[in-house]
Amino acid sequence: MPNLMVDLAGLKLRNPTMLAAGVMGISSSLMRRVAKAGAAAVVTKSIGVEPRLGYSNPTVVAVRCGLINAMGLSNPGIRAFTNEIMLLKQFKVPVVASIFAGNSERFSQLAQYVEKAGANAIELNVSCPNVEGVSQICQDTSLLFKVVEAVKSVTSVPIITKLSPNVTDIVHVAKAAEEAGSDAVTAINTVRAMAIEIETGRPILANKIGGLSGPAIKPIAVRCVYEISRALKIPVIGCGGVTCWQDAIELLLAGAKAVQIGTAIKYKELGIFNEIVSGIKKYLEDRGYRKVDDIVGLSHQY
């Protein structure tokens, strides 16, 4: 019986699957349901200091190989959301609070809030592809450095930086996060994309441009995880298009210590978590591996 536990820079997971940020992460009840379905931890919707309405609908459009979304970081604000984190803690669900802001002060403020509420780790969303002020952070490594450093100096839980694929050199950005003290990175957030309805000629999303997720981006996620995990010492969490256990294994082999799952829930509902966990277990078992770490980054040797 292989051991599925993973230690992510101090964040202990009973298996390597997590819920990705922004998917179902608006209420403790849904996140609890996700945890019951098998996810070892949940990442919340990205929360800002103030309540935020986000963009108007359509905020999501299905395309052939995935989804494009531009929610616009709608969220109830940190004060209202604190309650959801505390409820999750009652249910003993390991929770990673995703936070976003435009500068390091507000990031620090948010981090302190969610840590106090009981978050087991904090994911910094510096990579939302379609919100002014947030997408820029991961494009400016000195700003990113400041944000991570500031958050790190006021918190004691693990800090995870969520990276964007919409940059020329993701390794360069990841290194800045590492140097600034990030305990782990998540790769990747969505890829900037767009869909136009051809009968009307209209961009479908109210925000026109959004972020592509789902099967389409898995090969991009594999590449990013591979590149980053070879260059960094801190753990990488793989994210992007994981839709079956084989995809999860591919990301682990590429160098991810754990995987996040978002869009696939649309295709397979919450059963996806158990499907992936069983798949990973069987994969390890069949090949005589004892623990998940045994296969993390195995592809690097070639």
Partner: protein, 283 residues
Amino acid sequence: MTLLGSPISIDKIRIVKIIKEKIEVTGIKSLFFKDKLCYDANPGQFLMVWVLGVDEVPMSLSSIAINNLSSITIAKIGDATNKLHSMTLGDRFGIRGPYGNGFKLIDGKALIVGGGIGLAPLMPLTKELIKKGVEFTLIAGAKTKATLPFKDTINTLQKNHEVCVTTDDGSYGTCGTTTDLVEDYLTKKRFDMVYTCGPENMMWKVFQIAEKCKTLVQASLERHIKCGLGLCGHCVIDPLGLRICKDGPVFSSEVLREATDFGKHSRIPNGRKIPIGKVKTFK
């Protein structure tokens, strides 16, 4: 399961043309259109209606594939519904879906309770029940005569079914609320299922009465819908973590009993949970 939404998946937006329109009453209008994917819809399922350049909002199917046409019936509330009301024959809007679970048909005898625009998903339900030979009584309520939609259909149903109309001011049918009548019916007769849609406080009262009378309920709930795909979580009902758009919109008694949000709390578009009375609703 098709892993990859193919171009003809229900999630793909289809642009449809208004082929027929019908003003039900002032402020409530039905728009008819042709869409193949709606042919197999269940009563209680809804569409995401893309009002070009304005918004994308959920709308129940108020008729399904009658002479190949299906319809939505819109209460005029705000930007999107105003725009839909301003549209006429030949105008276009986008749809995706049908989404959600819809009502489960039962055997036996049904009580159908609709309030105002909440009657919309119940109209195709009556059609299906008739097809299946299920006996039913319909209670249709509205504030006044001037706000009761579907009068034609209701009148037609009256010929072969027990139908009670109530208005708050007695301007049409009996004077009173649907819930008064529900209490009457459920204590006097045996029903195998209550189907209800309408303002949430109405549905909540119907459910309480039905519980007392040990009768099962299927209620179609409403919350703010963003993605309609079961992903964003905005339409959640605590504490079970049920999504209106995917696990609902129709929930049965077993679930309603545990759904403490029901009748009490809702979430506003930014995701904050507030007491239901404070939510601006369309009804």
